[in-house]
C-alpha cells in the first residue's frame, strides 16, 4: 500500500498548502499561497488535475460551500487532508529527512 501513497512533488506542495490554509483551503487561496510564499506559478489546469487526483486517491476530501454572489452564484470547493493524506505526507517527509541526514552543510541555504 505504501507505493500507492507515494506523492508527486506538486501533490506534496498542495497537501501542505491545504494544511496551512486550514478551513480556508479552496482553490483560489491555494494557488495564491503557492505563488506568494513559494514563488511557484502552477498552471490552473495542473492545480485542478492534481487536486482531482488527490481526491481520487483518497488523500483529500472536498466539500462544497454556499453559492456566493461574487462567484457568479457558484460555491467554493473546500479541501481537507484525510488521515490517509496525512500519513502519506509524514512518510514522504520522513523519507526526505532520512535521506538528507548529514547533508545539511550542502542543503542549507547560505
Amino acid at each position: 500500500m505504501a507505493t500507492n501513497l507515494s506523492l508527486g512533488e506538486l501533490e506534496q506542495v498542495l497537501l501542505l498548502a491545504i494544511l496551512q490554509l486550514d478551513d480556508e483551503a479552496y482553490t483560489v487561496p491555494i494557488s495564491r499561497l503557492l505563488a506568494d510564499r513559494v514563488g511557484r506559478h502552477v498552471s490552473r489546469g495542473a492545480v485542478y488535475t492534481s487536486l482531482d487526483r488527490l481526491e481520487a486517491k483518497g488523500l483529500v476530501t472536498s466539500t462544497m460551500g454556499e453559492p456566493l454572489t461574487e462567484r457568479g452564484g457558484r460555491a467554493r470547493r473546500y479541501f481537507t487532508v484525510t488521515s490517509r493524506g496525512l500519513r502519506a505526507l509524514r512518510s514522504a517527509r520522513a523519507a526526505l529527512l532520512t535521506l538528507s541526514a548529514g547533508l545539511e552543510s550542502l542543503l542549507e541555504p547560505k
Partner: protein, 893 residues
C-alpha cells in the same frame, strides 16, 4: 463612479464551460475564475481583467493539463446520462469514430470511395452550374447589367438584335441606365507577315469599356471620338492577339494593322484575360455611317446597359416598353410585331439550352449520389450488426440512446470528412476530362468554361453536401442501431448479429431502390448515345462522307462589287480544279451543319402576301457543282449550269419541302418567286432537290431556296470538295488554292463535313458521355449493393442452410432458395426502374427536340444488362451457400 459589477466575458466563460467536462469541476472552475476576475478588475481595471480571463480560458481549453481533467473524469462521465458538455462528448465521439473506422479499413475504404464517386459527380456538375450559370462573366457589378433585344412577343426565344436608329433612340430616351452600350459581331481577316488569319472581334460603342470597368494594359481604349464615322479605323487588341501577332511588342501600340484589306491603328491593348463578349480578340469602335445611323431594319446591335443606382430591372423594363411604344407609333412598318425585351446580362449571355442540359446532368448526378448513399446506408447497417454487441454493452452500462445515436452520427461525420478530398479528386479528374473534350472553337460560346476547376467554393460545396448526405443517410441506420435490444444481444449463446425483420426489410428495400435508380440512368445514357450517333451518322439529306469544307469571308473593302466577288469565285474554282484527287467542288454561301444560317423573305407569284406572317425560307447561293459535291439529289428539273449567268434569266432551285409546302397540289417547276433584296422582279424555279438536315436540333428538312452564285455572288464563301481520299488531306492544298487567288483572304473552319456534324453535336455528346459515366457508376454501385446484401443474406442463413442440407436438401434446392431471393429483389427493382425510365425518357425526348424516341429495344437491352449484373453480383454468395458443409455450419453455432 459607481462600481457596478462587471461579469467576466461571456464567450470566454462559455469556452471554459465546454472545455471542462466534469460538472462538479466545471462549476468550481467557473466560480474561481469569477472570483479572481473581480480581484483583478478591482486592482487593474476591466480591460486587464478581461484579458486575464481570456488567457485563463484559453489555457484551460488548450493546455495539456486541461485535457488531463477530462481524461481523469472520462471514465466516470461516460456512464452518466447527463451533465456532459456537448462539445466535449462530441470531440470524444469523433475520436472514437475515427478509431472505429480505422479498425475496419476495408469497409471504411469502400464507403469512402463510394461516397467520393457520388459526391465527385455532383461536385463536377455543380462546378459547371456555378461557373457557367451563376458567375459566367467576370465583370464587376454584373448583376446590375442588362441586355436589350427586340423580339416578337409570339416568338420570344431568338435573341434578336437591334437596328442602329433604335439603339440611338434608346440611348437618348432611357434614363434608368447610367450607361448604355452596344456591340456587334466584327470578325475580321487579319493580314500581316504571318499567314492571314480570321480573328473574332466586336465593334463596340464608346460606353462599352467604361461600363465594364476595363483598364487598358497598354495605350488607351476606345473613346467617343473613335466612334465618329471617318475616325473609326482604330482598334484595341486582346492581350492574347497582341502576343500572338506582335510578340507583345509595346511599339505595336500606335502602329498600323491590316484588317479586312484596310489599315487600322492599334490604340491600345486590353488587360490580360479580358475577352468579353464571346472570346473577342479585337475591338473596333462602333461607328455608324450617316445612312446606317438612320436604319431601323438592319438589325445587328446587341445593346447592354448598366442600371442607374436605385433603378430596378422592372422599372427599366417598363421604361423600355414605353420607349418602344413611341417607336411603334412613329415607325409602324419597321417595328411591326416587335417588342423591346430586357433580361439580365448573365441570362442574355448564357446559351438558352444550357440550363436544361445542366439540370439534366445535375439530376443524373443526384441519382448517382442517391444510389451511393443507399449503398452506404446498407454498409453501415451491415457493419452495425457487428457493432451491435458493443453498443448493447454501452447501453447496459448506462449510455443513453441519444448518446449512442450521437456516436453513430459522429462516425458518419468522420466518413464525410474523409471522403471530401477523394471526392474533390474525382471531380477534378472529371472536370479536366470535360475541358479536354470541348472542341476549342466552341469554348468562346460558353462563358465561364475556362474557369471550370476546383476552387474554394467547390471545396465548401462538397464538404457541405458530404456532411449533409452522410448525416442524412447515417440517421437511418443509426436510428435502427440505437434501438439496441439489450437482452437479445447480450444473451450468451444467442445467435450473434441476427438482423431484426424490420432491418432486413430496410436493407432489401435499399437494394431494390438502387436497381430502380440505375435503370433510368442507363436508359438515358443509351438515349443520348443513340441521338448522337443518329445526328452524326444518320441520314442528312446529303452525303457528308469524303467531303472537306472551308470557310472564308470576302472583305468589303476589296470585294465591294458583285463582279469582284464573282471573279474571286470563278478563279477559286479554276484553282481548285488543279488540286489532285478532287471529284467535285462546290461553293455555297452557307452549309448545312455550319454555324451560319441565311434566310430570305419570299413572295410567291399568285399568292396573297400576309404582312404579319411573311414567308421566310433558308437561302443559299451555290455554284453548279455544289449538289454533286454534297450528293444532294436533283429530284426534278435541272441543276444550275453554265447557262445561268448574271445576264440571263434569274433562276432558283427549291427543296422538296419548300415545293410541297407552297405548291402542295401543283407543278412547282416554272413558278415565279420574288426574293427579298433581289433586284430582279421574279425568279423562276427550274429544279427541285432533296431536303437537307441543316441541324438535327432546330432545322430538319427546312424549306430552302438555292440561287446560282453567278447571279448573286456572296461575300460569305464556303468551299466543299469531295474526294475518294481522306478529306482532311485536302485541307492544305485547298488553302493553297485560296492563297493563289487572294493571299489576304484567310480560310477558317477548315474541317471535314463529318467533323462539322460532330461539332454540332458536342453538347449532345457531352450529355451522352456524362450519362454513360453516371449510368455505369450506378450499375457498379447497384451490383455492389446487391452483392453485399446477398453475402449478408447467406451468412445469416448458414445455420438454416446447414440444417436443410443435413435433412437432405440438395445444392440445387439451396441454389434455388438463394438465387430466388436475389431475383425477387432484382425484378422488383427493375419493375420500379422501368416506370421511372419511361418518365425520364419522355423528358429526354422533349429535351432532345424529338430526335430520339424511347425505343423498346433500348429498354430490353438495359434490362438484360441489369439482369446480367445482378446475376454476377449474386453468383459468389450463392455459390458459397451451396458449398456450406452442414456438419461445420451446425457445429459453429
Amino acid at each position: 463612479v459607481t462600481l457596478t459589477r462587471t461579469a467576466p466575458p461571456r464567450l470566454a466563460a462559455w469556452l471554459v464551460r465546454v472545455s471542462i467536462r466534469d460538472a462538479r469541476w466545471r462549476e468550481t472552475v467557473i466560480g474561481d475564475l469569477a472570483e479572481e476576475f473581480a480581484t483583478v478588475r478591482a486592482r487593474s481595471g476591466v480591460p486587464t481583467a478581461t484579458a486575464w480571463y481570456w488567457r485563463q480560458a484559453a489555457g484551460l481549453a488548450t493546455h495539456a493539463s486541461g485535457v488531463a481533467i477530462r481524461r481523469t473524469w472520462a471514465g466516470r462521465s461516460s456512464v452518466s446520462r447527463k451533465g456532459d458538455g456537448f462539445m466535449h462528448t462530441f470531440l470524444q465521439d469523433l475520436a472514437r469514430a475515427a478509431r472505429t473506422l480505422r479498425r475496419q479499413p476495408l469497409v471504411s475504404g469502400v464507403i469512402v470511395l463510394t461516397l467520393a464517386l457520388g459526391l465527385g459527380a455532383n461536385a463536377a456538375v455543380w462546378n459547371m452550374v456555378d461557373a457557367l450559370m451563376v458567375r459566367p462573366l467576370p465583370i464587376r457589378d454584373v448583376d446590375r447589367m442588362v441586355m436589350i433585344s427586340e423580339n416578337s412577343p409570339s416568338d420570344p426565344e431568338p435573341q434578336e438584335t437591334v437596328p442602329p436608329a433604335n439603339f440611338l433612340d434608346f440611348k437618348r430616351q432611357a434614363d434608368v441606365f447610367d450607361r448604355l452600350a452596344a456591340f456587334e459581331w466584327w470578325d475580321v481577316n487579319l493580314v500581316g507577315q504571318d499567314e492571314p488569319e480570321r480573328v473574332s472581334g466586336f465593334a463596340v460603342s464608346a460606353d462599352f469599356f467604361p461600363m465594364l470597368s476595363v483598364v487598358p494594359a497598354q495605350g488607351r481604349l476606345l473613346t467617343q471620338d473613335d466612334t465618329e464615322w471617318g475616325h473609326h479605323r482604330r482598334v484595341v487588341l486582346s492581350d492574347a492577339l497582341w502576343h500572338r501577332r506582335f510578340g507583345g511588342d509595346p511599339a505595336a501600340v500606335g502602329g498600323p494593322i491590316r484588317l479586312n484589306g484596310e489599315s487600322y491603328e492599334i490604340v491600345g491593348i486590353a488587360p490580360r484575360g479580358f475577352d468579353f463578349p464571346l472570346g473577342s480578340e479585337i475591338w473596333a469602335p462602333l461607328a455608324f455611317s450617316p445612312e446606317a445611323a438612320v436604319s431601323r431594319t438592319s438589325r445587328s446591335l446587341t445593346p447592354i446597359a448598366h442600371l442607374r443606382p436605385g433603378a430596378s430591372i422592372e422599372r427599366a423594363r417598363a421604361q423600355m416598353t414605353g420607349i418602344y411604344a413611341t417607336l411603334h407609333a412613329q415607325y409602324p412598318t419597321a417595328t411591326r410585331g416587335r417588342e423591346a425585351r430586357l433580361r439580365t446580362l448573365k441570362a442574355g449571355m448564357i446559351d438558352t439550352g444550357l440550363p436544361a442540359i445542366l439540370a439534366l446532368w445535375q439530376a443524373a448526378a443526384l441519382l448517382v449520389l442517391l444510389i451511393a448513399c443507399t449503398n452506404i446506408a446498407n454498409l453501415l447497417l451491415a457493419r452495425g450488426v457487428e457493432q451491435q454487441r458493443d453498443l448493447a454493452v454501452r447501453a447496459a452500462i448506462g449510455a443513453s440512446r441519444w448518446r449512442l445515436l450521437r456516436q453513430l452520427l459522429a462516425e458518419s461525420l468522420a466518413l464525410a470528412v474523409a471522403s471530401t478530398p477523394v471526392a474533390l479528386g474525382v471531380a477534378s479528374l472529371g472536370l479536366t476530362a470535360l475541358k479536354a473534350a470541348m472542341p476549342p472553337p466552341l469554348i468562346r460560346f460558353v462563358s465561364g468554361w475556362t474557369e471550370l476547376g476546383v476552387d474554394g467554393r467547390l471545396v465548401a460545396f462538397t464538404l457541405v453536401v458530404a456532411v449533409g448526405t452522410v448525416v442524412l443517410f447515417g440517421v437511418l441506420p443509426a436510428w435502427q442501431l440505437s434501438r439496441v435490444d439489450l437482452m437479445g444481444s447480450l444473451r450468451e449463446g444467442g445467435r450473434s448479429g441476427t438482423a431484426g425483420p424490420w432491418r432486413s426489410r430496410l436493407r432489401r428495400s435499399l437494394v431494390v431502390a438502387q436497381i430502380a435508380l440505375a435503370l433510368p440512368l442507363l436508359v438515358a445514357s443509351g438515349l443520348a448515345a443513340i441521338a448522337t450517333s443518329r445526328f452524326v451518322n444518320g441520314p442528312q439529306g446529303y452525303d457528308p462522307a469524303g467531303v472537306m469544307s472551308l470557310r472564308m469571308v470576302l472583305p468589303v473593302a476589296n470585294y465591294a462589287t458583285a463582279d469582284a466577288r464573282r471573279q474571286f469565285i470563278e478563279r477559286l474554282l479554276t484553282e481548285v480544279s488543279h488540286v489532285p484527287a478532287v471529284d467535285a467542288t462546290g461553293i455555297s454561301s452557307t452549309l448545312p451543319a455550319s454555324s451560319m444560317t441565311q434566310s430570305r423573305q419570299l413572295t410567291i407569284d399568285g399568292r396573297a402576301e400576309d404582312r404579319d406572317h411573311p414567308i421566310s425560307v433558308y437561302y443559299r447561293a451555290v455554284t453548279p457543282q455544289y449538289f454533286d459535291a454534297l450528293r444532294i439529289p436533283v429530284r426534278r428539273g435541272r441543276a444550275f449550269g453554265d447557262p445561268d449567268r448574271v445576264d440571263t434569266q434569274p433562276v432558283a432551285i427549291v427543296s422538296q419541302s419548300l415545293a410541297t409546302r407552297y405548291w402542295p397540289n401543283a407543278e412547282s417547276l416554272g413558278r415565279r418567286v420574288h426574293l427579298e433584296g433581289s433586284k430582279a422582279d421574279w425568279t423562276t424555279v427550274i429544279g427541285i432537290v432533296g431536303n437537307t438536315i441543316d441541324d438535327w436540333f432546330v432545322s430538319r428538312n427546312a424549306p430552302t431556296i438555292y440561287v446560282p452564285e453567278a447571279q448573286a455572288p456572296s461575300a460569305s464563301v464556303y468551299l466543299v470538295a469531295r474526294t475518294p481520299a481522306d478529306p482532311v488531306s485536302l485541307g492544305r492544298p485547298l488553302q493553297a488554292a485560296i492563297a493563289a487567288v487572294d493571299s489576304q483572304v484567310p480560310a477558317f473552319e477548315v474541317m471535314s463535313m463529318r467533323d462539322r456534324l460532330r461539332q454540332r453535336t458536342s453538347g449532345l455528346q457531352f450529355v451522352g458521355a456524362l450519362m454513360a459515366v453516371f449510368g455505369l457508376l450506378a450499375l457498379v454501385l447497384a451490383a455492389g449493393g446487391l452483392y453485399a446484401v446477398m453475402a449478408f443474406f447467406v451468412s445469416q442463413r448458414r445455420h438454416e442452410i446447414g440444417v436443410r442440407m443435413a435433412l437432405g436438401a440438395t445444392a440445387t434446392n439451396v441454389l434455388r432458395q438463394i438465387a430466388g431471393h436475389a431475383w425477387r429483389l432484382s425484378i422488383i427493382g427493375i419493375a420500379i426502374g422501368l416506370g421511372l425510365a419511361v418518365l425520364l425518357a419522355k423528358a429526354m425526348e422533349r429535351a432532345l427536340f424529338g430526335i430520339v424516341a424511347a425505343e423498346p429495344g433500348l429498354f430490353v437491352g438495359v434490362v438484360i444488362v441489369l439482369l446480367v449484373a445482378a446475376a454476377a453480383a449474386s453468383w459468389l454468395p450463392t455459390r458459397r451457400a451451396t458449398r456450406i458443409d452442414p456438419a461445420l455450419a451446425l457445429r459453429t453455432e
